[in-house]
Amino acid sequence: MKFKLMVLAVALVSFSGVASALDFGKLLEERINQELNKDKKTQPAQTSPAPDASQNTATPSPQAKQKIDAQQLGFALFGDYSPEEETRIGKQIAGNLLGAVPLVRDDKLQRYVNLVGNWVALQSGRKDISWHFGVLDTEDINAFASPGGYIFVTRGLYQRLNNEAELAGVLAHEIAHVTLKHHLKVLKQSSLIGALGQAASNKVKDSDQVVQNLIGNGAEIMARGLDKNAEFEADRVGIVFAARAGYDPWGLPEVLQDLAGLPAKDSRTSLLYKTHPHPADRLAELGEAVGSRLDAVHGKDLPGRFYHLR
């Protein structure tokens, strides 16, 4: 049945889509620029999340297009992305980020981080995406998550870690961003979701460009950051993922303790502090949630297995 619908959708696209694809792309671009500028000026007043807002404000497009959306992409109606759409957005962001900063050339390190990360991600409950982990070659102290399971930690942060539980804690925080779809929600809030849906459903020739337009310039979405409650939530959820994976749950808090001790004016943490609450706030907030709840959890630190970068 699903297959039939797909065939139908593809057929519809090939009839009606191609002809109007370019015009549509242009419309979308204008719309996106409009939205991005609006975002810069003021926080959009309508905080009511996606479905209705996106439908009302989406690019005025032919009825036929909306039909395709409804069948091929659930989110225009139900406010959700397919894993494919999510991966596509995430891949674009990840590729752009890698254009700004390359990966550390150390196969053993990268492989190790992927094994730890995947093990933690197995506890996240999201089985519909394939996870990628990488260490970025920069002194900057930070970690990034992109939709679709693309997760990065910088060499600057990695080199401050003392054991596998701390690495697991950092990765778990980022994994939580992905499973909670925090970045996707940011995109939705700017009510671009309907527009993206149409872009993704059409075989627009330069569709990568459309996705790029959605996420802004390069990887700047990574510099915009999330709302602080999203960061607190990722701490709360991440610490539990790490604990479920059998690690000492205190890995992430220890990393936060370490960061709290860094001098305020350090160029290596400027982006981190721009996009995250201060580590001291994060510790306090986490403390409120944890209380005595993890007293009985005794996980592993695994300092011996931790891969040390020279």
């Binding site: 980020l97 995947n118 310039n217 479920r244 370490d258 160029s267 400027s270 001291a280 403390g287």
Partner: protein
């Protein structure tokens, strides 16, 4: 000022590396000092939010600290460790952290160490080659499972944490 930052950050790095022995800390909420690193042990003292402590050692989710004349164990998450503020080591306190917060960007460049910035990210061009490299390191769930088993990692049943009440209200740090 710039010159001062280099030795200052170097000093902080050393302090952190020395596993926080006798490092300064600040209490983040009203809490208790216990005689042992568990909440069923005797309470040695109460410590108010904002109090300064000296961190002596760490065990699991607990820190052994001195506060005034008392020594005892306090929950790791009730203390903010390290020196935070004003570009100086050893002076970490509430004010310092708040200053960090209110002045997050446009920081002084520390010689030889450079962070990422908005411009780097904005200018970034898609790099498919690096993305392909990333794929080569990908691990399968089966590989991750056997990797975990190698060091005796087993899954644990841990309940999700509740959203704290304070999540709705802004923290005092934010008020700055």
């Amino acid at each position: 000022m710039k010159r001062f930052l280099i030795p200052a950050s170097a000093l902080v790095l050393c302090v952190a590396a020395a596993s926080a022995l006798a490092a300064p800390g600040t209490v983040l909420r009203n809490d208790k000092l216990y005689s042992q690193p568990n909440a069923s042990s005797k309470v040695a003292a109460s410590v108010p939010k904002g109090a300064s402590v000296n961190i002596l050692s760490k065990q699991g989710g607990w820190l052994r600290v001195t506060s005034g004349k008392s020594t005892g164990w306090i929950r790791l998450l009730s203390v903010r460790a390290g020196a935070g503020g004003l570009g100086g080591a050893g002076l970490g306190d509430v004010v310092g952290a708040a200053t960090t917060r209110s002045d997050p960007s446009r920081v002084v460049a520390v010689a030889g160490l450079r962070g990422l910035n908005d411009e780097d990210l904005k200018q970034a061009k898609f790099n498919g080659e690096e993305l392909a490299r990333l794929n080569t390191w990908q691990a399968t769930p089966a590989q991750a499972r056997s990797f975990a088993a190698e060091s005796g990692l087993t899954t644990a049943n841990v309940a999700a944490l509740p959203v704290p009440q304070s999540a709705k209200t802004s923290s005092p740090w934010e008020a700055n």
